[in-house]
Symmetry: C2
Subunit: 241 residues, 2 copies
């Protein structure tokens, strides 16, 4: 019987104090590690429990914060913060690097074996770390099918797995095509899963009772997308090498 442990970590990034959730597998040895980035509203128990689940599988996992400890459930507030952030690769990279530094500083982390997985804005941050040349073993992104600055995507050296809902009005077919065309032109090893009928944030159980147009939970595809993320890690970042 293994027991993972968790710890709240505070660290500065983007002019804020970020409050992340670090989950450690049982044992004392170094382990591969996963950065886990949240959807635009920010870190919630959904991502914290996913980090816990990764720790139970043997990974060090940091569910990182993007809004200084706040969860922006109101769409207008979320958009007011996320749209400028998504337009500023250096800010996204700053948030990603700060989380990466926390993860690398953890003695249980094998600093040479790190993957980045994110959802929405968190996925865009995972991609930007790759575009910044960070040596990652894999990048997984759900909903966040963002394109980069010219020449940056060529710096991604690990497999990229992406997932998106077919009916997601926020990540449109045009944007999906731009994303995959960029990955292909850059010579990246990429895959895209389109989940039929799923809306934006289909993987995310409701956190509050708001209804946001184009957003909706799809439990079946949510399970599949998590399974696909685990498969990506199993392929690219096995717990034992």
């Amino acid at each position: 019987m293994t027991t993972m442990t968790t710890r709240t970590v505070e660290y500065p990034a983007d002019g804020l104090t970020m409050i992340g959730h670090l989950a450690l597998p049982a044992g004392v040895d170094r382990r591969p590690a996963v950065l886990l980035g949240p959807e635009g509203p920010g870190l919630s128990d959904v991502e914290r429990r996913r980090a816990d689940a990764l720790a139970e599988r043997g990974y060090v996992a940091l569910a990182f914060d993007i809004h200084g400890g706040r969860y922006l459930g109101a769409p207008d507030e979320m958009l007011a913060r996320c749209l400028p952030l998504l337009a500023a690769p250096e800010r996204m990279r700053g948030i990603g690097h700060a989380a990466l530094d926390v993860l690398r500083a953890e003695p249980r982390t094998d600093p040479d074996r790190i993957a980045a997985v994110g959802y929405g804005t968190g996925g865009a941050i995972a991609l930007e770390l790759g575009r910044d040349g960070v040596d990652l073993r894999a990048i997984g992104t759900v909903n966040g099918l963002t394109t980069g600055r010219p020449g940056d995507t060529e710096r991604i050296r690990c497999p990229v797995w992406a997932g998106v809902g077919s009916e997601d009005p926020i990540m449109s077919p045009t944007q999906r095509d731009a994303f995959t065309a960029e990955m292909q032109a850059a010579g990246v090893d990429w895959r895209l899963v389109v989940y039929g009928g799923a809306l934006h944030a289909f993987h995310h159980p409701p956190v509050d009772h708001r209804t946001v147009p184009g957003v909706g939970y799809h439990p079946q595809h949510a399970r599949r997308a998590w399974h696909d993320v685990i498969d990506l890690l199993t392929e690219c970042l096995p717990v034992t090498e």
Copy 2:
């Protein structure tokens, strides 16, 4: 140590004598069963070994024949037979039903638990069985992203998983979009995986030394596509229920 066994099965379909490859898991009990359809050139050892691999996992598996025992390695001969076949749903269904009858007649098969997986033309046949209202547990199709006659796809009642190479010139983005739009309009539970950089028949190791434009083996995505097929079966057709 389990040992699966295999048997060659002959049966009539499409005016020909088909020569299929039936693989049986160790034991004597009834098991879920999988129809496995080949790419346009026809049944080869690639599909026979996949049927064997499914039997080793506990499934009864029939790698079925589409050309009366022949392997059409010459593209012109393959196209001369496959293009009319792909335009004739009733002929495809006839080939599929004949194979299904063989599979159901096998005493080891649980006739209520059958999935159909196919590649290219074999995938189109799997889809046509679903469009004919056959009670399948899952349909998997790689490369064969064919559309059906109006109203037929509404008869598919099981999950559909599809895979395609992003650079496949034979299964174009336009055809992929038509396929997914039809699945979505019909209310099917569907998924599509686009394997970045892969050509047509990317999953298929070369059978002879011919080079066909737009066709090419991609070992890494081939492994992933097989893994994805196994995941589909694990989800929809578990060996033990």
